[in-house]
Every structure is written in structure tokens, then in C-alpha cells.
Symmetry: C2
DNA sequence: GTCTATATCCAGATAGAC
DNA sequence: GTCTATCTGGATATAGAC
């Protein structure tokens, strides 16, 4: 049984979701900086003041968009298929991240490029991204990328591929298609380095 | 001998340069999106309408800033020291680019992240960047990065290092310090690949 | 919850006096 | 060339009727 209160709450949440969806539509067509409360209200068939019943300020709206975008990226990455080995799994995650990023450049911009002077995401929203990066780090370690430097370089490559793709060939796959290669090169290099390091240590230990 | 006309022209150009410098000061402190003609005028001790004697519109001002920023990045990269071999030279160029980018994040944003909805740089300004990229490509080829994929990956790495540095540790060098390593790994990988390819071809040709 | 009306502020840009 | 005054338009946000 559902009480009248629950119905009201649901309606409200549905309306909030509608507004958020409309906001993304506008942002995707005109950019984040061009989003205004007036236009947004018109997009959902309201006048601007009515929006303030759902979001107390534009910053709250942006924060909700940020949180939603982060959640989406998070799901994309988490739902990427597990590979037959850590390397494949890492590649899949990287591919999922890059694909999701270039598929919605303005989402990427909002999440990672701080395009709005006054806006700072709430700590909870930021936490989603940090958790995902920590998970990815664990998988990268399993795949052979130990040490902070290796991880940093890995993250930089995926980020760079996204940036180049969006900036120079939006909608294409010239850089997107390099994800596997980039990851493989890194892993190959560092596992080979480890091999050498280990071999040297064994020799030094007098083993083998 | 200098005519009265030249003096006037010089004064005018000096004023334009002053305005541009003031614009960069404002942008560096508050972000590109926050730049307004009023504030800019105040920064140089004028009222807003006077600015229109030097730049016919805000877009023209932004384009001048874009061109100037591109020129600066260009000089930084071109003035990077020539190494003892192509690999060193390429590393120096990459380091110069990354250092210049992280040293002024808002310049980087204006040049490479299209933060302003309506603004599109003029073709001449864009050409500066393209020429530099072409030069870098030639050096990369000399260093062993043949083929488009290799070059694309190289550019992506430098861009990604900049992006991560600015986003996660502005002012630091955690990612900046990885430039050499990233370049070296790429070159090592692809020259090794070439070696193998050449060896195979020689065998197939019956040579050796 | 949604509206009209409005407050307040700021933007880019122009007209025209000096 | 620089100014005052102003146009035009847009922004976020609030008050208060319904």
C-alpha cells in the first residue's frame, strides 16, 4: 500500500529527473556556459521561478548534474566486461571510460574541466570519481602497473586520448581506437622492466 | 626619422598590448568566462566604451588573446633546446609544451578547451598551432615515431599529462615529471617494433 | 506548485558630446 | 580618443497572488 505522501514524493522526484534531463539536452546543444534557468524552465514547460521549487539555486542544479554525470561514467566503467586476465579487464575499463567521455563531450567538460568559475562540486559527487579511480588502480596493479608513476601515466593516456578526440575530431574514433595500444604498450614496458628488476635481484641474491 | 603617423600607430599598438596584458591578468585571477569589458576597462583605467577603439568587439579581443597565447606556446616550444639526438630533441619539445601549459592553466583552457560557447578562433591563429604540430611530427618521425598512430599517441600523452596536472595538482609536477618517461616508453616500443618488422622483412627477402 | 511581477544586477554595444 | 548616458537584453532570484 502506498500512502499519499509517497505519491507526492515520487512525483517530485520524477519532476526533478525531468528537469535534469532537460538540462542535459540544453547543455548538449549549446554548451554548459549557455545554460540558463529561463531556457531550462521553457524546455520543461514552466517559468523560471517554478524551478526553484525543485532546485534551490542554479549551483544546486549544477551539482545534481555533476553527480548524475559522475554516476553515469561510474556505471559505464563498472559495467565494462571482465576480461580473461587483468590486462584485458583494464583495457575494457579504459575503453569504457574513453567511449563514455567522447560520447558526451559536455558531460566530460562539466566533470573534468571546471568550465564554470564559481562552481565547485560537492564532496559526495567527487567521492564517486575517486572511488572509481581507486578501483581502476587496483586492476592496473593486477595488470602489472605497480607504483604511482605507472598509474599516473596510465590515467594521463586515457585522459589525453579523450581530450584529443574531442578537440580534433568530435564524433570520430581516431584517438579512441588507440586505447588498447596505449594500455598494452604501458603494460608491456613495465612488466618487462619488472622482469629485469626481478632477474637482477635474483642474481644479486644468488638465486637461480 | 619618424613621422607623426608612426608615433600614433605605435601608441595605438602599445595601448592594444596593454589591454591584452590586462585581460590576461583578469583571466588568470577569475577565469575566462568571468572576463567582461567593464572590468577590463577598469583594469586599464578606462571606461568600457573606450575599449571599442582598440577592439571592435569582445570576440575580436578574445581572438587576439588566442593568437597571442598560441604565439607564446609556439615560442616556448621552438626555443626548447635542440638535443644531441632526435629523441632528446623531442623530449625537450614535449617538456617545453607541458611546462608552458601547466604554468598558465587558463591560457591552456582558452587555447585547447573551447570554454566559450560562441567563440571560434580565426584561421590564422589556428594555423600557428598546426604548423607547430607539424614540426613536432617531423621530429617525432626522426626520433622513431613513424605512422599516424604513433604520432597521435604521442600528442595524447602530452595533452593528458597537462590535463591531469592541472585538474588534480595545479602548480605541482607529479604528472609533469612523467613527460620524459612517457616519450621514452613510446619511442622504445616503436623502435623495437620497427626492428622486428625490419628483421622479418629481411628474412622474407632472403637478405642477411 | 505555478504563476505574474519585479528586484537587482550585469552583460555587450552604440550615440553623440567634448 | 575618451567620456556620459543609454539601449537592449539577459541573468539569478524573490515576493506574493492564486
Amino acid at each position: 500500500m502506498v500512502g499519499a505522501r509517497d505519491v507526492r514524493v515520487r512525483k517530485r522526484e520524477w519532476a526533478r529527473a525531468e528537469i535534469l534531463a532537460a538540462a542535459w539536452r540544453l547543455v548538449r546543444s549549446d554548451g554548459i556556459a549557455a545554460l540558463s534557468m529561463r531556457d531550462l524552465a521553457a524546455e520543461v514547460g514552466m517559468r523560471a521561478p517554478s524551478l526553484y521549487n525543485y532546485f534551490p539555486s542554479k549551483n544546486h542544479l549544477l551539482d545534481a548534474m555533476y553527480a548524475q554525470g559522475m554516476q553515469q561514467m561510474d556505471e559505464l566503467v563498472r559495467n565494462s566486461p571482465r576480461g580473461r586476465n587483468p590486462r584485458e579487464t583494464l583495457r575494457n575499463r579504459a575503453r569504457a571510460f574513453v567511449a563514455g567521455a567522447v560520447q558526451d563531450p559536455f558531460r566530460f567538460q562539466l566533470l573534468f574541466e571546471r568550465p564554470i568559475p564559481g562552481f565547485v562540486p560537492s564532496p559526495e559527487s567527487l567521492a564517486v570519481g575517486l572511488t572509481r579511480m581507486k578501483e581502476t588502480s587496483e586492476m592496473a596493479v593486477a595488470a602489472g602497473l605497480r607504483g604511482q608513476r605507472e598509474l599516473d601515466l596510465f590515467m594521463a593516456i586515457t585522459r589525453g586520448l579523450v581530450a584529443m578526440q574531442i578537440a580534433n575530431e568530435p564524433g570520430g574514433d581516431r584517438w579512441v581506437s588507440l586505447v588498447d595500444e596505449g594500455v598494452d604498450i604501458l603494460i608491456a614496458h613495465y612488466t618487462a622492466t619488472d622482469q629485469r628488476r626481478r632477474t637482477r635481484r635474483q642474481r644479486a641474491d644468488g638465486a637461480d
